[in-house]
Each structure stands twice: as structure tokens, then as C-alpha cells.
């Protein structure tokens, strides 16, 4: 694989890969990436400001060797939407949980389908069921529900 792997990121002695990726992210994006934590071996969590999600993902794929986008899930809370990206690295056997928050009245976030093609349908699904709008998505249409449906069924205010 040609992609720069996480092993090539400058390492300090005694660091495990989870800490290394968190440090690399924190150094590249000191303002927007926060709350980095290692949940269990192989699973890392970090919070990203929604304005920077595209650039973070670009760095993750190109420089840190995260070549696989596993899942995009949207969770609705009382005051916010959380868009959770699970991004996996095949080489260093890591799973990164990136959480990006949007306010309730403006559920908009940058599309990352130009970075990982696999994000295309998952973003459409999030739009369809939760109403998250992904900017500059090539074809942001409903995918599971019919085209003329007016609601987003996974929102908590939707009752059967």
C-alpha cells in the first residue's frame, strides 16, 4: 500500500499507536480537535469541530493511513446533533471515532464522499433518516424512503 501509514508518523518512545494518532491530530489541528481519548485498545475517540471535518478527514486518509470509512451515524440529542464517523486503519489496526456536533437548527456538515467513496450512500442515509445536510455531496437524495416523504423518521419528534 502506498498510503503513508501511521507507522511513519514521527513517534516518541513508549507511545502506542492510539496515542500517536491522537497526538498527530492534535498537532495538526490544535484548535478544532479536542477531547482525544483511548477508549480501549484499538479504539480512539476525538471530537472535531464541524467546520474542519473535511480537512481532518483528508489528513487522516492521506497522512495517517486511515483508508477505510466504516460508518457514519447521526445521533439526535436534546440540544444538538452528533455525527459520528468511525474510521478504520487497516495497517495499524485502529478504529477512530470522530464526533462532530451541529446545532439543532442548522444540521449541516461538509460531505466527505470525495475522500472516501464509501461515504456516499452512508451520508445519503443520514440525510434520509435524520435530516443531516451534507454540503457538496454529489447526489444528496433520499435513499431508503420514497422521494416524496416529508419527514425524517429517526428524529425523536417523529412518532410512528
Amino acid at each position: 500500500m502506498e498510503a503513508v501509514s501511521i507507522e511513519k508518523a514521527p513517534s516518541r518512545i513508549g507511545e502506542n499507536p492510539e496515542q500517536r494518532v491522537l497526538r498527530a491530530l492534535a498537532e495538526s489541528f490544535p484548535k478544532t480537535v479536542s477531547d482525544g481519548a483511548r477508549l480501549r485498545p484499538g479504539l480512539v475517540r476525538a471530537k472535531v469541530d464541524r467546520s474542519d471535518i473535511f480537512r481532518v478527514c483528508r489528513v487522516l486518509k492521506d497522512n495517517l493511513g486511515f483508508e477505510h470509512l466504516t460508518m457514519i451515524s447521526a445521533v439526535e440529542y436534546d440540544d444538538r446533533f452528533e455525527i459520528v464517523y468511525h474510521i478504520a486503519s487497516y495497517q495499524s489496526k485502529l478504529l477512530l471515532e470522530l464526533i462532530s456536533t451541529t446545532p439543532k437548527d442548522d444540521p449541516t456538515v461538509d460531505s466527505i464522499s470525495s475522500i472516501w467513496g464509501g461515504a456516499n450512500w452512508q451520508e445519503r442515509e443520514s440525510y434520509d433518516l435524520m435530516g443531516i445536510v451534507f454540503r457538496s455531496h454529489p447526489k444528496l437524495e433520499r435513499i431508503l424512503l420514497p422521494k416524496d416523504v416529508l419527514y425524517h423518521p429517526l428524529r425523536k419528534d417523529f412518532k410512528g
Binding site: 483508508e67 477505510h68 466504516t70 459520528v84 487497516y90 471515532e97 467513496g117 450512500w121 442515509e125 429517526l154
Partner: protein, 360 residues
């Protein structure tokens, strides 16, 4: 020649379920393709928000008719992660054994459907016949033939029935003999090779980029299996190999699945051998704490993930399911273009569609 759109679906023998593949053909050559899914959308994620944690287990069985056990296992694993439940070791071994049996059964069902797609009835009936052996075993273990409802939060529902070890070893021996027969039946036939070698090429870069997982990814040359690379349950104790092939054509996908069946037979033997005595189930808590739980397993069709958000009550706040097929299907247009109309069935059959989990 004039180009035209052909709807292959929603009711079509190729679809194995209910979805629509619109292909644009020039004569018999495919110019463009566009999958349309959602015909089987039941809103399982929404249903789960209204049910308590134990009640969801039979619902997750309905995600995929081919490998329902894997999905309920995945659900239990993610909820155990959320609740912090320790699973008894015997239960983990039983789970791994049952999942591998389910994997064999699922791959056999895939092989049957694939043979049916290629017009090979003999492949269909023989594989379905031999799948029955494992379905019978799972029935003796779990009490049902298709929707097993077997894993529980904190263990499994039942202990092994009497004589189960003997029957399983016998079934695995039988299966290994049968796999040789399949190799004669499929690869020994020139026509099968003509239909498969070099068809539906999916290159490594495309497979990585489009998020294809599971046997299709391994057939494209990426040796990545969650059972090996991010092991869960008691897979670290098991000795098996990850089946990988370099050329991403239909034949490689077929071959990877056949090899996986061999490896699964090995795992079933080892699990039965190493299985400790003891309890198989713990009392599961009623309420989950506020927080998130993540389960990630290697489904027969790829990487399946469940993400559970708990809010302190006895019902999940949000349950997100990542279906491997949902992402794999989105890669279909990339694979299909340039091949003949008859190759559509070979390619889509080779991806192992399962609409239940795709539409949720």
C-alpha cells in the same frame, strides 16, 4: 446501437430480495448502472428505540435471513460493551462455534444462490441440502431454524444439547468431504470458469475507497479480517488463516468464500475442543448507563458494526447499524460497467446481496 435502460428488479430472479438495479445497456453491454434500494425498509433502528434491551434480540435476527445469528451476536456484543457485562468464557466459545456454523451455512446459501444465478440447478440443490446439516445443528442448539434468537446479553440462551459435540464433528467432517465435491462441481467445469475468471474486476484501490468489506475486499488483495486483525470474543485463541486472493474477479470472490468455509470448519473443531465447563449465562442488567457501546464483527458479508447509545433507561436511545452490503452495493456501478448483461447476475451474485440487512 441504441441504448436502453433495463430494470432488473424489484421483482426479478437476480435480486435475491427486493431491490432494483437499473442498468443501461448498449446491446448486451452495460454502459451505466444505478442500484435503488429501500423496498424492504422496515425502520428497525426506529423500532429498536421503542423496545427494551432483551426484546431487541429477536428483532436483530430479522436483519438478515442468511446469517441472523451473527447479527444478534453483534447486538449483544455492543450492548455488553455499553453495559460493561462480563460474558462467561463458555458462552464465548459457544458463540464462536455457533457463529462459524452460521458462517458456513450463510456461505452455502450464497453458493446456492450463486449457482442458481449461473443457471446451475445442481449447485443450488446440493448446497442447500448440505446447509440443512448445519441448520439442523443450529436448531438443536438454539431451538429455531432461521431466526435463532440465541445470544443473550451476558451469555447465550441455552447450553449445548446432549451429543452436540459428536454431531458437530460429524457434520464438519461431512462438510469437508462435500467441499471437495463442490470444487469438482464448480471449478471442474469449464463453463463455470468461463463465467467467472476475469469477470467483475474490482481493483484494490477501488475496493478500499468504496468501503467494500468482507470476502469481496479480501478477494481484491487486502488481507483484513476483523476476526484476526481486531479480534473480539475468543478469536485470539483460535488458529486459522485469512483467505486472501489478489485478483478481484468473481472467481476470486468465490474462492475466498470456499476457503473461508474450510477455515470455519477448523474453528468449529477448535472451539469444541477448547470449550471450558461452567456457566453459559449471566444475569443481564435491566438498564444501561448513559454512554455509547460499539460492536464490530466480521459478518459473512463483511464488516458489521452496531453503535448503541444508552441514556440510563431500559431502552436504547439510538441504535445505528452498519450493514456491509449497503456499502458494497454502492460500489456496484463501478464493478458492473463494461460487462455483459449476463455478467450482472454473476457479479451481483458474487457480492452476496442480503436485502434484509441492506434496507434495515
Amino acid at each position: 446501437m441504441a441504448e436502453m435502460w433495463i430494470n432488473m428488479g424489484p421483482q426479478h430472479p437476480m435480486t435475491h430480495g427486493l431491490w432494483n438495479l437499473r442498468v443501461k445497456v448498449d446491446g448486451e453491454t452495460i454502459v451505466d448502472a444505478e442500484p435503488e434500494v429501500g423496498y424492504l425498509h422496515r425502520g428497525i433502528e426506529k423500532i429498536c428505540e421503542g423496545l427494551t434491551y432483551p426484546q431487541i434480540i429477536p428483532i436483530t435476527d430479522r436483519l438478515c435471513y442468511g446469517s441472523s445469528l451473527t447479527w444478534s451476536h453483534l447486538y449483544c456484543q455492543s450492548v455488553e460493551d455499553l453495559m460493561g457485562v462480563e460474558v462467561p468464557e463458555r458462552a464465548e466459545y459457544i458463540r464462536v462455534m455457533a457463529i462459524e456454523m452460521q458462517r458456513i451455512a450463510s456461505h452455502l446459501m450464497w453458493l446456492a444462490a450463486y449457482a442458481g444465478d449461473l443457471g446451475m440447478s445442481v449447485g443450488f440443490t446440493y448446497t442447500m441440502r448440505d446447509r440443512e446439516v448445519f441448520v439442523d445443528l443450529l436448531q438443536a442448539l438454539t431451538g429455531s431454524r432461521l431466526t435463532y434468537n440465541y445470544p443473550r446479553i451476558g451469555g447465550v440462551a441455552h447450553d449445548l444439547p446432549p451429543n452436540f459435540d459428536r454431531d458437530s464433528i460429524r457434520a464438519v467432517d461431512y462438510m469437508e468431504g462435500r467441499l471437495k465435491e463442490y470444487e469438482d462441481l464448480f471449478e471442474g467445469s469449464k463453463i463455470f470458469m468461463m463465467r467467472n475468471v476475469g469477470i467483475g474486476l474490482l481493483r484494490k484501490e477501488d475496493a478500499l475507497n468504496l468501503g467494500v468489506t468482507g470476502p469481496s475486499l479480501r478477494a481484491s488483495g487486502v488481507s483484513y479480517d476483523l476476526r484476526k486483525d481486531m479480534p473480539y470474543s475468543v478469536y485470539p485463541e483460535m488458529d486459522f488463516e485469512v483467505a486472501t486472493l489478489d485478483d478481484g474477479d468473481c472467481y476470486a470472490r468465490y474462492r475466498v468464500r470456499m476457503d473461508e468455509m474450510w477455515e470455519s470448519c477448523k474453528i468449529v473443531r477448535q472451539a469444541l475442543q477448547k470449550m471450558p465447563k461452567g456457566r453459559w449465562r449471566m444475569v443481564s442488567p435491566r438498564n444501561a448507563p448513559a454512554g455509547t457501546g460499539l460492536g464490530r464483527v466480521e459478518d459473512p458479508r463483511g464488516e458489521a458494526v452496531m453503535y448503541v447509545v444508552g441514556d440510563g433507561s431500559d431502552k436504547p436511545y439510538r441504535l445505528k447499524i452498519r450493514s456491509p452490503i449497503f456499502v458494497t452495493v454502492s460500489a456496484a456501478p463501478k464493478i458492473l460497467v463494461g460487462y455483459k448483461l449476463a455478467d450482472v447476475v454473476a457479479i451481483m451474485g458474487g457480492l452476496d446481496m442480503c436485502i434484509g440487512e441492506n434496507d434495515r
